[in-house]
């Protein structure tokens, strides 16, 4: 069985932990730890994905900020869907969309990627994630797990 590489983007700060929580739940479900990668910045993706993995499926889990209720789950299919979601970032950061585009042009990213984004509320430094986001992250993990087992 081929386990897709799953990347959780985020930080230790509040709901920004959503992507990491998805990975934690997946590991509890039995997903192999070697196929789960936690990162802080989208640009770090360029370090973990290389040509050898170009044919593999990539799943990215992240937090986002928008107009929906905290805990709302979005699922995008890249590059078919435009990555319209926003997340707080520094002025030096490359967006996930930019990184995916660089990876595509360098032909070192998979042709398709699935991106899950959980609508976040609190980004307070060092704070715990909200209950809504914790619940949503678990639902995302379950959906990925189920989807993989029924694929």
């Amino acid at each position: 069985m081929t386990w897709p590489l799953i990347v959780g983007l985020g930080s230790h700060h509040g709901d920004d932990r959503a992507g990491w929580l998805v990975l934690k739940r997946l590991q509890e479900l039995g997903y192999p730890g070697g196929r789960l990668v936690t990162l802080q910045h989208p640009a770090d993706l360029l370090d973990v994905i290389d040509t050898e993995q170009a044919e593999q499926t990539l799943v990215i889990c992240d937090a986002c900020v928008g107009t929906s209720q905290p805990g709302t789950i979005h699922c995008f299919r890249w590059p078919t869907d435009k990555l319209v979601y926003q997340r707080p970032s520094g002025s030096h950061d490359l967006s996930l969309g930019d990184v995916m585009e660089i990876g595509r042009r360098l032909r070192c990213f998979p042709e398709m990627a699935q991106i899950w984004a959980v609508e976040a509320d609190s980004w307070l430094a060092g704070s715990e994630p909200s209950a809504a986001v914790q619940s949503a992250a678990a639902r995302v993990a379950d959906a990925i797990w189920e989807g993989h087992h029924h694929a």
Binding site: H92, L106, C108
Partner: protein
Amino acid sequence: MSSPDIIEVPILTRVEGEGGVTIRLRDGAIENVELNIYEPPRLFEALLRGRPLEDTPDITARICGICPVAYQMSSVHALEAALGIQITPAIRCLRRLLYCGEWIESHALHIHLLHAPDFFGAASGIELAQRFPDEIKRGLQLKKFGNRLLEVLGGRAIHPINVRVGGFHRLPNRDDMASLIPHFEWGVQAAAEVTRWVAGFPFPSFEQPYEFVSLSHPDEYPMNEGDIVSSTGLRIPVSEYDQHFVEEHVAHSTALHAVRRDQRTPYFLGPLARVNLNRDRLSPAAQRLVDEVGFPPHCCNPFQSIIARGLELVHAYEEALTILRDYDPSGPAHIAYQPQEGCGCAATEAPRGLLFHEYHVDADGKIVSGRIIPPTSQNQRQIERDVTDYLTGRLQAAASRDEMAVDCERLVRTYDPCISCSTHFLKVRWEESS
């Protein structure tokens, strides 16, 4: 007298920091160029006052996400001068290694994603990646190993946490250091290929009678130590910096402009200055490349700074490889010291040029005052003069306003400016008389 005609030009990207350029034309000629730095003052020197001197390297590192090591190195050297601390040769060597990591990640980033697109009419590194996927991929790999070195030696790639006054908090594991060696063996060759690639770029014809300034050390390519030298024959210890250079406030910038004290003239810092003034101390592979690519003995074309950056990329990989192979973690990680009242200064070579720090410390080891003069503030006046001279030539060649705006952006980017050492964008604004 005619009044100025104002022209707005869109935002310039791929420049680190937030600022703008105003170009005033009167009666068809360029009257004045101003590099506007409008970021609010960062006030780092004030933030340091009253704090334990041990906080200084980690606080000043936060000035920049691209060159934090430079701020750490200048600060610890200056504080060690104030306290009379002598570090061991092994610690000195590891500091050079850390600096190699920073030069690698900074130069690889600037060459491939910020500067190279200019030579192919590409709007971004992303666009360039479509045309040169192998070259950009190689550049990202080169940057990655620079970051990896910073992680191993500095604790993390951005804002390393292992630097302290007197040395390091802990010495890296021998196996971790050894694991980098194959990557750096590859890196020496790959960086040489990068230099060959950029040396073939089409460079605009533009040379100026610059005064180049950098550190210079008799035995090694300058990073952490040396005298301050210039292409006009100046050679002074760093402690005499204020006798020869001065910062001036200008109305259009929140960053001070540095000029030569007596002549009030600008000067040029960075890789091109370092290579011009120290080329015989480049590593063997870099020196061979200097000859192979025909780099001029005293290059005065700022657009060719990208070649100098490539040569330094080779140098940094080769020197890092030597240090990694010889690494012996048996010595002390740092030198113990007692706080004492004192004053000290130091300059090191940040990727963008000479970075000067000076500190006064009280008997309790608290910072009384600090002063930081980053390379980009020293290059600002030279950038303004370059834009004036270059665009004057382009005007005479009947270049369009749009073409000149692009030219202006490209010329500013050759300096790899880290505006107020925090990056983002530069707006160009034109004013022209009718």
